[in-house]
Symmetry: C2
Subunit: 207 residues, 2 copies
């Protein structure tokens, strides 16, 4: 029962999930697409269309059950899996990600760190020891790593991706600004911090 | 001559720009939408549609002039403005952004850092001194800051946004996971690192 769902829709689901969690914290049990839209600056039509992609959730004229929809979105997003992350490249960005608290709040945990710099191998970040990349296969097995996060320079990223695949990674989150070749069965998300900044530049130029 | 252009299209423009710059480095002067698509994993139809939004660039059966299209995209994205950034909140993420080299390659430069922690005020990151937030207005004027980057916790983000607006910021790039209220004339981009990770979780769950 797989459907083609646009990346843009998938990118909005975590926003819905997070807003529903805030609503639940506020003891609000029913929410309309209008209220969700107001909180997120997304049109109610867009929200209804996005959610309808995954099934019939709301009740016309009443709204969505906050807890129910939140749980369903968590299931769709696979957030109940409590994915375990390994970060490869503990420079500034890798170190920031190792400390990024929002991941934990979504059920992700960083369980392993790798770097090739002998000066930092053996040291700890946020209580996690930095290991040599040569230890990847062994540590992936013992720590049950699911996701590999690539925060090395672009020139080293493909070699790291190959190591991750060899170590049995189930998904890759790539911050290096380069296209990676990995087997099709391993989902790959390319993150690029300069895209948001370029979009901001675009809007500032149109002003 | 303003048109409504989708966020998704705008988000793809920096990818096109970066690929064109790589092509130029490789001394390639003409490129087809097929070759751009192959390098970016985007369909040629999507690329032609995106670029057609901004004018007639390519020549049928020949392709796009690499240098010409790159310069036009830089103009559309406002990358010739050499925007000057101030980062507010020099924790792990703020520190990583202060050191993120890809910004410089797109013409952005970090010129000021702010934090409220007395222990780090006066110290430097990447050669830039950390100032108290109370100095924002004065430093924005002297350093000609354009963009404010918010990397404080969510609970402090609105107060920082208010300070930035008061200091005359022209655009805001927000990493705090919260909705900010700023005047409509000030473009605001919300960055959320957990969205990419949630999307990865989604695809891993569908496998």
């Amino acid at each position: 029962m797989k459907k083609m769902i646009s990346q843009a829709t998938i990118d909005r689901l975590p926003l819905y999930f997070r807003t529903l969690r805030l609503l639940e914290d506020e003891k609000i049990s029913i929410v309309s697409s209008e209220e969700l839209g107001r909180r997120l600056d997304i049109t109610p039509e867009q929200i209804r269309k996005d959610l309808a992609t995954f099934g019939q959730f709301g009740r016309k004229g009443i709204g969505y059950d906050v807890h129910d929809l939140k749980e369903k979105l968590a299931n769709i997003l696979g957030l109940h899996n409590r994915w375990r992350l390994a970060i490869v490249g503990v420079g500034h960005l890798g170190g920031a990600l190792a400390n990024y608290v929002n991941f934990a709040s979504l059920g992700f945990s960083v369980v392993a760190l790798f770097d090739n710099n002998p000066k930092i191998i053996g040291t700890q970040v946020n209580g996690i020891k930095i290991n040599a990349a040569s230890q990847m296969k062994r540590i992936f097995a013992s720590k049950e790593v699911d996701i590999g996060v690539i925060t090395v320079p672009a020139s080293e990223a493909q070699a790291v991706a190959d190591l991750l695949v060899d170590a049995g990674v189930k998904g890759i989150w790539n911050f290096a600004p380069t296209k990676l070749n990995v087997p099709l069965i391993i989902p790959l998300i390319n993150e690029d911090l300069s895209i948001g900044l370029s979009a901001l530049s675009y809007y500032m130029t149109q002003e």
